[in-house]
C-alpha cells in the first residue's frame, strides 16, 4: 500500500535525478520546513528537503564543531560526499543556528548555481511578522525570477499554492484515519509518506496519496492495535526507531515533528487578497518550531490538543543530541503532558540510535502504560 512512498524515500536521489531528466527542470535542495515552497512550485522548480543518511561519517569535523546537532552534521556530510551532486540550487529559511551551519559550509565547499538565505522572522508572534515575511518572500520570488530568467505570474503563484494545499489536504485526510481505534496505517508507514512528501514532486505525491486513500478502507482492522503513542521533538526521520517501537506493541498515531504535522498542518488561504501575504500568513501561523515559539508557548496548547484528538496514552519525546531549541521546550512540554495525565519517555537521538538499548526503555514505558489498564 505504501510501497511507492517507501521507494521514493529509499531512492530519493534516483528520483530527483530522473525527475530532472524527464522534465528538464531545476532541482533545489532546502534546509528547514519554513521554506515557502509555493514560490518554487510556481516556478516549476522541484524542492527537495535535505536530510541525513543515518550513517556514521568522518567528513564534517573540519566544518562543524562537535557540539552542534548530529542532524546538521549528517546533512552536511551528504553534501560533502557528493550525494546531492544533481542540485541546481540550495535554500534555507532561517530557523535554528545548527542547521544554518550545514548550509553555510555547503555553499562554500560544494558550490551550487543558486543559493539563497531567507531571513525568516523568529518573532512570529509579533504583529509585524507577516508584513516583514511578505517582503522577504517577494525578494525571494524576484531572486528566483532572476535565476530562471522567467517571470512568476500571479497565476503561477496560485498554481503553486494549489499544489501545496492539495498535498497538505490529502495527508491531513490520511492522518484523520489515524484517529480510528485501529488505524489502517502504522506510524512507520505514515512516516514513509511524510518523508517522501518533502522529497518528491507534490503532484505525483498527491496522486499516490489519492490512491492510498482510495484503498485504505479495505484494510482489515486490528493491524495497528498497540498502545496509542504520540512522538514529538526534534527533526526525526528515523524509520528503524519507529519500526522498533511498533514491533513491541506501541502504535504511533500522531506526531509533532517538522517531518510530519508541523510541516503540513495548515494551508494558504486561496481567496484572501494579496497572494504573497497569504503565503506569509500560512508560514507565520503554522505550528511553531521551538526556535520560534516565544514569548507565549503556543506549542503546549497545540500538542495537548493533538494528544486529546488522537487519544494518546503516552508520548515519546525525542531530541537530537545538542538541539538547543528543543532542550528549551522539553521540560515545559513534558510537564504539561504529565499534568494532563500523559506519561512521557525521553530519548536522545544521534545519527544512529542504539536500538537495543532503546527497545528496553520503550518496552518498560509501554509496560508502565499498560499497567494502568490492569489496575
Amino acid at each position: 500500500m505504501i510501497d511507492q512512498f517507501r521507494d521514493w524515500e529509499k531512492n530519493r536521489h534516483a528520483y530527483a535525478k530522473a525527475w530532472k531528466e524527464k522534465t528538464g527542470g531545476k532541482v533545489t535542495g532546502y534546509f528547514c520546513s519554513y521554506v515557502p515552497e509555493e514560490i518554487l512550485y510556481a516556478a516549476n522548480i522541484l524542492p527537495v528537503r535535505i536530510l541525513g543518511s543515518h550513517e556514521p561519517q568522518d567528513v564534517t569535523e573540519a566544518h562543524i564543531f562537535g557540539m552542534y546537532c548530529p542532524f546538521c552534521r549528517d546533512c552536511l556530510a551528504q553534501g560533502l560526499k557528493g550525494k546531492y551532486d544533481y542540485l541546481d540550487g540550495l535554500l534555507i529559511a532561517q530557523s535554528c543556528l545548527h542547521i544554518r551551519q550545514a548550509y553555510t559550509s555547503w555553499i562554500k565547499h560544494v558550490p551550487v548555481d543558486f543559493s539563497y538565505y531567507l531571513p525568516f522572522p523568529n518573532n512570529v508572534q509579533s504583529p509585524r511578522a507577516v508584513t516583514y515575511l511578505a517582503g522577504e518572500i517577494k525578494a525571494f520570488k524576484t531572486a528566483i525570477e532572476k535565476w530562471t530568467g522567467k517571470e512568476i505570474t500571479d497565476q503561477d503563484i496560485r498554481d503553486g499554492i494549489k499544489i501545496m494545499n492539495e498535498n497538505r489536504n490529502l495527508i491531513h485526510r490520511l492522518y484523520e484515519y489515524k484517529k480510528k481505534e485501529n488505524p489502517p496505517v502504522s506510524g512507520e508507514e505514515t512516516m514513509e509518506v511524510a518523508i517522501s512528501q518533502q522529497l518528491v514532486d507534490k503532484k505525483e505525491h498527491s496522486e499516490a496519496l489519492h490512491k492510498l486513500l482510495g484503498s485504505i478502507n479495505s484494510v482489515p482492522d486490528g493491524k495497528n492495535n498497540g498502545t496509542r503513542l504520540m512522538i514529538l521533538g526534534s527533526e526525526n526521520d528515523d524509520i528503524p526507531f519507529i519500526r522498533m517501537v511498533e514491533s513491541v506493541k506501541g502504535t504511533i498515531v500522531i506526531d509533532d515533528h517538522c517531518i510530519g504535522t508541523r510541516y503540513f498542518w495548515n494551508n494558504v488561504h486561496e481567496n484572501n487578497g494579496d497572494l504573497i501575504t497569504s503565503i506569509a500568513e500560512r508560514y507565520i501561523n503554522r505550528p511553531a518550531c521551538p526556535s520560534k515559539d516565544w514569548i507565549i508557548r503556543t506549542r503546549i496548547k497545540h500538542i495537548l490538543q493533538l494528544a486529546h484528538d488522537y487519544r494518546v496514552k503516552g508520548a515519546i519525546v525525542i531530541q537530537q543530541k545538542f538541539c538547543d531549541p528543543h532542550e528549551l521546550d522539553i521540560p515545559a512540554i513534558s510537564r504539561a503532558l504529565n499534568a494532563a495525565g500523559i506519561k512521557t519517555l525521553f530519548l536522545e537521538f544521534d545519527v544512529t540510535v542504539p536500538v537495543g538499548q532503546f527497545k528496553i526503555r520503550v518496552e518498560a514505558f509501554l509496560e508502565m502504560l499498560q499497567e494502568e489498564d490492569i489496575f
Binding site: 564543531f65 544554518r100 516565544w294 528549551l328
Partner: protein, 436 residues
C-alpha cells in the same frame, strides 16, 4: 632573538571600572527602595529604549551576570546543579544556566535574595535568547516579557523592509513598556541614550584600534574587565564618559611605549568568550612572551566598526560626529537599529565567512603570529561556524590552535590539557618559556 623588555604599568582607571561595575549590580538590587524599576534582559538588547522610562530604571544584563557567576566557581556549580534538577540539559548556554540557577536558588551574586525584575526586555540573536527569559519568567511565576527579533540578515544587506521589522517591534515595545509600567514614555531620554550608546561603542572600538601598536598597550585579560561595562549599560552616560577617559590613558600608553606585558614578542588573538573561571591561562601565555591583543569578541561585541578611508578597520563614525540631529522617537529607533545591526559580532550568525574576513583583517592589521580559537561548548551562538573560521585562517597562512572549553561551566574545561596545547602551539611558533 633578543627578548624585549618593555616598560609596563597598571591602568590608572582600573578602580573606576570596578566601581562602575559594582554600582551596576547594587543599583539594580536597591532600585525598588527609591521607587525605581528593575528590568532584566540581555547585554545585546536595546537597553536605550527602557531608558526612556526615567533615570531610576536599572537593568541586570544576563550574560555578564552569568559570567560573574562563572567566576565564582562554588556558586556556579550550585546554580548548574539547581538548573539540571529542574530538567534542563547540561549542554545549554552556560550563562543562561547560571542565571536560571541564581533565580531557582533565589540567591543574588552580591548576596541576599535574587531581586525579581519588574519586566524582561530582551532581543533575540541566537536560539536561546528569547527562550532564556521565557523560562526565567516561568521560574519566577510569570513576569511581563518582551523580546525583539533582530535576525534580518547581515548588515550589508539591510533594506527598508528589514529595518522596519525591527523598528516596528521597537515601537510596539515602547507602547508595551508604558502599559506594563504605567509610566509616560520620555522620547528625549531615549534620544539621549541613543547618543550615549553610539558614543560609548564607537569609543570602545577606537580603544581597541590602539592595540595595533607594538607593544600592545592592553592585553585581552584586562580588556575583559573594561569592555564589560559596555555589556552592562552601553547606553549610559557614565560608561561613555569612562571610555573617553580610558581612551586618553591608552593613547598615553601607546605614545610612551607602556606595554601590557613586558616581554611581548608574540601576538595572538582569541575567539569567543573565554572560560571565565580560568583566565589564568592568559597569564600562562605571558610566560612565553605572548600577548593576546583581543579578539573579534572583545572588539566587536560592544565596539562598532567601519572601513576607514585609508583602508583600515576603525571606530564607526557616530551620528553626532556626522552632525545628525535625532528628531523624534521614530528617528531615534531607526538610528539605534541601524547602529546595532552593524555590530561585528552579529554578522557571523548569517555566515561564518563574514566573520573569517573580519578575523583575517584583525590578524593582519594587529600583526598577529597566531590565533587561539576557544571552541566554547557554553555558547552555541558565538561558536557558530568556528570550524569554518579555523579553515579560513589556516588557508590564509595563520597558525591556529584550538582548545575546547566552556565559558561558564567549569566542569567542561581541562586546564592541564589546555596548557599543554598552549605548549605545543608556542613550540610550533618557535617560542619557549622565558626563564628569568
Amino acid at each position: 632573538m633578543k627578548i624585549p623588555n618593555y616598560k609596563t604599568a597598571p591602568l590608572k582607571c582600573w578602580n573606576k571600572a570596578k566601581e562602575i561595575r559594582d554600582d551596576f549590580y547594587k543599583n539594580y538590587a536597591v532600585a525598588h527602595e527609591k521607587g525605581g524599576l528593575r528590568w532584566s534582559g540581555g547585554a545585546w538588547s536595546f537597553g536605550a529604549i527602557p531608558a526612556g522610562l526615567g533615570d531610576d530604571v536599572f537593568p541586570l544584563t544576563g550574560e555578564p551576570y552569568g559570567a560573574s557567576i562563572a567566576f565564582n566557581k562554588q556558586f556556579s556549580i550550585r546554580c548548574m546543579e539547581a538548573t539540571e534538577k529542574k530538567g534542563f540539559a547540561r549542554d545549554l548556554c552556560s550563562y543562561m544556566r547560571n542565571y536560571w540557577g541564581s533565580v531557582i536558588l533565589d540567591e543574588y551574586i552580591d548576596g541576599g535574595k535574587f531581586p525579581k525584575p519588574d519586566f524582561m526586555w530582551q532581543d533575540h540573536i541566537c536560539c536561546s535568547h528569547a527562550k532564556w527569559y521565557q523560562v526565567a519568567s516561568d521560574l519566577e511565576g510569570g513576569i511581563p516579557t518582551c523580546c525583539i527579533d533582530v535576525a534580518v540578515g547581515p548588515y550589508t544587506e539591510v533594506n527598508e523592509n528589514r529595518l522596519n521589522y525591527i523598528t516596528g517591534q521597537m515601537h510596539d515595545g515602547i507602547e508595551w513598556l508604558e502599559k506594563i509600567t504605567g509610566r509616560k514614555y520620555n522620547d528625549d531620554k531615549l534620544i539621549e541614550a541613543v547618543y550615549n550608546e553610539c558614543r560609548a561603542t564607537s569609543l570602545w572600538a577606537e580603544i581597541c584600534t590602539l592595540n595595533k601598536a607594538i607593544p600592545a598597550p592592553l592585553d585581552e585579560k584586562s580588556m575583559y574587565s573594561l569592555y564589560v561595562l559596555g555589556t552592562l549599560e552601553k547606553h549610559s552616560k557614565k560608561v561613555a564618559d569612562f571610555y573617553e577617559e580610558l581612551l586618553d590613558e591608552v593613547k598615553y600608553r601607546v605614545e610612551n611605549q607602556i606595554a601590557a606585558i613586558k616581554n611581548e614578542r608574540c601576538r595572538v588573538m582569541s575567539d569567543t568568550q573565554p572560560p571565565w573561571g580560568f583566565l589564568k591561562v592568559f597569564r600562562y601565555l605571558e610566560t612565553f612572551g605572548a600577548v593576546s591583543i583581543g579578539s573579534l569578541y572583545t572588539f566587536g561585541l560592544i565596539g562598532m566598526w567601519e572601513d576607514k578611508e585609508d583602508g583600515s578597520w576603525g571606530p564607526r563614525t557616530t551620528p553626532q560626529q556626522k552632525g545628525i540631529k535625532i528628531k523624534d522617537r521614530d528617528h531615534a529607533l531607526k538610528v539605534l537599529a541601524d547602529w546595532n545591526l552593524s555590530k561585528p559580532e552579529w554578522q557571523h550568525f548569517y555566515s561564518p565567512h563574514l566573520k573569517s574576513e573580519m578575523m583575517l583583517r584583525i590578524a593582519k592589521e594587529w600583526k598577529l603570529n597566531g590565533i587561539m580559537l576557544h571552541y566554547n561548548r557554553g555558547c552555541e551562538g558565538l561558536s557558530l561556524g568556528i570550524a569554518e573560521n579555523r579553515l579560513a585562517l589556516i588557508d590564509a597562512g595563520f597558525p591556529v590552535m584550538t582548545f575546547e572549553g566552556n565559558m561558564g561551566d567549569e566542569r567542561e574545561f581541562d586546564e592541564a590539557k589546555t596548557s599543554s596545547r598552549m605548549d605545543s602551539f608556542m613550540e610550533t611558533l618557535g617560542f619557549s618559556v622565558i626563564n628569568e
